[in-house]
Symmetry: C2
Subunit: 349 residues, 2 copies
Amino acid sequence: MSDFNLADHPHRRYNPLSGEWVQVSPHRAKRPWQGQVEKVCETNRPTHDASCYLCPGNTRANGKQNPNYEHTFSFVNDFAALQPDIPSGNVNEDSLFIAKSERGICKVICFSPRHDLTIPEMDLPSIKKVVDLWVEEYDILGKLDFISYVQIFENKGSVMGCSNPHPHGQIWAQESIPDEPKKKGEQLLDYFNKHKKTLLQDYLAKELEKNERILFENDHFVGLIPFWAIWPFEAMIISKRPVANLLGFTEEERASLADAYKTLTTLYDNLFEVSFPYSAGIHQAPTDNQSHPEWHFHMVFYPPLLRSATVKKFMVGYEMLANPQRDITPEQAAQTLRSLDLEHYRTRR
Amino acid sequence: MSDFNLADHPHRRYNPLSGEWVQVSPHRAKRPWQGQVEKVCETNRPTHDASCYLCPGNTRANGKQNPNYEHTFSFVNDFAALQPDIPSGNVNEDSLFIAKSERGICKVICFSPRHDLTIPEMDLPSIKKVVDLWVEEYDILGKLDFISYVQIFENKGSVMGCSNPHPHGQIWAQESIPDEPKKKGEQLLDYFNKHKKTLLQDYLAKELEKNERILFENDHFVGLIPFWAIWPFEAMIISKRPVANLLGFTEEERASLADAYKTLTTLYDNLFEVSFPYSAGIHQAPTDNQSHPEWHFHMVFYPPLLRSATVKKFMVGYEMLANPQRDITPEQAAQTLRSLDLEHYRTRR
Ligand SMILES: O=P(O)(O)O[C@H]1O[C@H](CO)[C@@H](O)[C@H](O)[C@H]1O
Ligand SMILES: O=P(O)(O)O[C@H]1O[C@H](CO)[C@@H](O)[C@H](O)[C@H]1O
């Protein structure tokens, strides 16, 4: 029998950040698809939409009016999943019924007054302003004594549950550290205690050496497909310096992060020449008043599309009950993405 | 301030089976929805479809012909994600790049020769035959020396990535124990060692006493919404006896399981009077040649619909990056489901 290799044979890969596995089935990409196809919405949107509750000057459902903001704008979510003022309480019956009250704050961040833009179509100074707002919000929310963790994220595209195409993201800040960053924190701490360096510092150095999954690199950040990626074109932006959270970046690094954000999302849009849907977000140190030298800032992107603008990967059945599973390998995904033009397809036309 | 209560205030609940949490936001159900809506496909399908690769007598893409089966039919998936004959190998570079070859077998199970039926519309003797086939497959696959775990599941509906409406399920059997059953197994073992009873035995007794989340009960099984449910109408079917796997059931219990399967899926269909999509599957003991008194057979159902036949819950952004989150409480979901007719809406018409 021929030798085992990652490009041809079904295998599992381990994610050292979460302690979990992904099933990789490289041979399965040839499977025909007769299932659900997604709608492509490539309509040209107006720069201002009178019915959009995120556009400047418009009135939201609860009667509040948006200011005539010129760059970014953040406000407390009108339908917040978390609230700051609730009675606190605990339930524990025989360790089988365990619940606790959870305080928090949910905010919406408008990236631009322009209704028609998305991150890859915005200019660098405007994206830098989004990064600056993230820094400000992480700082303010993180300093509240009842907030232990600040999750900054973006849902892009209706297929990702985003109900408004106006460029925006969200922040959910809360009392507890949620499970995903908690798992990561434990794995990162474990590694840091052993090696006196962050896990991502060592990982990044090796990825740069191998140059198999690297998508791009600028002065302060690297974009890559992680070895353990779950989604077909899942990617990560990692800071070259092991900085624990947004507050540790210099002005130059912030601009560099804006550049990396634009570069990755441009590659995404260019892949199928469509506004590429994803959920993205930042994983960084908790705001629990502890020092976190083990944490290393990174941004993750989970895009659902698999083969085309209309065929996505379904994380169902086996994936929900047993284990995430992917068809194309992370190496194939990286090769595909890095062969693409760095200029956005809409400006090239 | 009023007292904390689970029906009104944002809180987290702990899942003792997985060791993970869910964020519950009871007040958020009023959020308006302007996002993606799903298509409803309530077409009347023919009893036999010449273009369906699962119907009896038809030829599949790889040239193989299906027998003229009268009840159920299983075969090895033509596009299997796992394969039995691959070279074995291991990768481990500095604990950062870890991979291993993974052998396995993927099978497809046709539930009925009738193209137009689904489980809730099938009669009990026919569903009992599906249960019998699960038992047989679990037995045969589990006995193979390289198979440590057999995952039986069903993806129903195009929104769940199911590409063929012919009633069918799948089985993925493999060398390793995948992450979800592995986590559950550890939690179950822990509990069993402490209490000399299975966790689900104690949990079920308390749920029956409380009668707040119970959907139905027959001689040998109970259907309920677990206290820690993630999906809006997530449910579980639990055996009353603490049986580790399908092989432990009597003939009578198998018939009772078929009945519970039909009852739950009927309630689901009746909820929005639509063929209700879900991923469902069985969690039971691994087939790793160890004894597993800690395991307690149960079937889980993860349905995505939230408010109507066309509006689903999106597990995106915050959920992917931080923690699963739900809007209506498990108690509200249970109350809604158990108020429904036990006869299928299509036969009532
Ligand atoms: O095997 P199928 O039905 O073609 O595929 C479906 O179920 C599989 C197992 O849950 C998933 O990996 C696929 O993403 C999904 O589309
Ligand atoms: O807050 P939105 O954009 O209305 O809602 C979207 O993002 C939330 C956070 O990821 C999810 O809980 C919702 O399911 C999704 O539809």
